[in-house]
Symmetry: none
Subunit: 183 residues, 4 copies
DNA sequence: AATGAATGAGTGTTCATTCAT
DNA sequence: TATGAATGAACACTCATTCAT
């Protein structure tokens, strides 16, 4: 092993996020993370003084990535129709979205029990709403955010996908009072 | 302990539900359940042949209770105003609601990983929507259900409660197209 | 269940012998036996006051069957050639013999540790030798019995079967001094 | 306990062999081994990732020792009489031999059920035969090996020892065709 | 700076046995 | 007579964490 491996820390965090997705917060162990990062067990305990810390930082690392990605989604949005399209995609998005969605719920549930994670979820909610609010105003953004959360969970759990039109209709209604695009 | 205790099975299930609320699905152990039910460890493994089975049945038992309780909520509803009031209460309801809400999310997350639980969540969603649909029609019921899920999660995670008016407004908007109460 | 099921006891013993073959003496449990006999667990503990007793009686029951079967093997033997043929078959006999051979070794090993089983193995050895001695005299019978035991064990463990000729030669040599068939 | 104990692994293996002798393969548990080695339970599971692995390595370790010892037995053998004497001693040898003999049968029986052990028994048989074959040629060695196995088992199980002369006669007969010592 | 060794607590599960019915 | 219910002990195994090197 090279003496200075500044990547090491991030390798471990990436692995931890993977484990979080696969096994959930409660299923995360030093050993699983070490194995996934292809790193000795001692390396994990060395870089993170406790499992709780590792978990927290993994969630933080994920939220950071996620927030950036969420923002990117809306870069090209110019019309209300664009917005609806992006949101529908967010809800109905295939297995690629599953990963991040699962992690989101995992974090929310973990935060219900561990106040130390509450700061993270609040920041995340605030940021998400801020992005949405650019298009909808703060009031609608709050409702929309909640609706998205519920729609995504239901989409993940459904055996057969909700018809795209139903999702669209729900979103359109939530956006109803939003104007300002001159349409 | 008396040898023959026909209640035993239900005592254990109640305890299991408690543990589910307190420690989550992943935090449930035979020993915690046994302690909470004031029953020897062997008694738990005797009545439930695996932890997974105990978990599943605990969730099922909870869903059954919850569904009945959910239905009760709407027994007195006669006007749209009544409906809104009940839903706002559902979202903003104090710590008494916290228990059941947490368990609901716990079940949803567990179901994401364990297909055996999927049947349960689907039945639950179907039943909930059916209750709502009596007032809103099936289409609105679906959106409303999702919105409620999101609002409740956000309410649980918020450090300071969302203003009651915001919740009400979100719900009213989701109900918007619903008419038929002659108002 | 009928009140008097005199078969019950033997059904259980048969099942116990099966379990002995499959899982070994140490792997025998009340539950496995009950399951294999398709009988309630309590029925096994009712008919046999302890697992050791069940084990002992199962072995005894097996030895009884086995001795009779062993004797039958030699009923048609009239020439020395017949005898050799029977013995070769005993050693090389296919999977049908495997069952009883495994159980024989199981019993021998168990008897090494449990003196209560010693009486059984001694009677068995005595009986086997007596059968052989009818053809060979007591002295040769003892050696032959030992040789058979070793040959059978090796045959069971070998990945590819010993050539039939080698087995035959070993047996013929052990029988060498045996005469009296006027050949 | 000192942190770094490079002997630890072998201490555990020695203890495991002891347990194998005392309680048999099926009676071996992590706890018994740990106690016999005077080592914490966790230490056993740390060094051996499963009980099956521990068992296998204990058997391997024993076979290695045993093979060396077996070879030593024959170092001084120069005449056929020497050879017979050594073999008789092998069969009739007192309680000191009991230990290794029991373990041998234990391994054979375990190998009947666990193919992973088959490689071990085969190597052992091959090595034993090779040693014997130096004096008898390969053909006789095979029979002799089987006869020894049977004689030893019967000797272990007998309440009163077989007369030394009977054992000797059996061995002499098996060696009968062996010549070449110019006697 | 980094890690293999180590350990005590705790996991799900199996079990022989007992007992009330 | 026969059996479902019950239980305490033991099992293999996993784990977070500590520490010597």
């Amino acid at each position: 092993m090279c003496r200075h491996d500044p990547q090491r820390r991030w390798r471990i965090l990436d692995a931890a996020v993977d484990v979080l997705v696969t096994d959930g917060a409660a299923g995360m162990t030093h050993r699983k993370v070490a194995a996934r990062a292809d790193v000795p067990l001692g390396s994990v305990t060395y870089h993170f003084s406790s499992l709780a810390e590792l978990q927290e930082q993994a969630f933080a690392w994920y939220v950071e990535q996620q927030t950036a990605q969420f923002e990117d989604l809306f870069t090209g949005v110019e019309t209300r129709e664009d917005l609806v399209e992006v949101l529908v995609e967010l809800v109905q998005g295939g297995p690629s979205r599953r990963r991040s969605a699962v992690l989101g719920f995992e974090l929310h549930l973990a935060a219900l029990r561990d106040p130390a994670l509450r700061a993270l979820t609040q920041k995340w909610t605030r940021d998400s709403r801020a992005v949405l609010a650019r298009f909808t105003g703060p009031e609608i953004a709050g409702r929309l955010d909640a609706l998205l959360e519920g729609l995504i969970m239901h989409a993940l759990l459904a055996t057969e996908p909700e018809p795209r039109e139903a999702t669209r209709a729900a979103l359109v209604q939530a956006l109803a009072p939003v104007t300002g695009w001159g349409e």
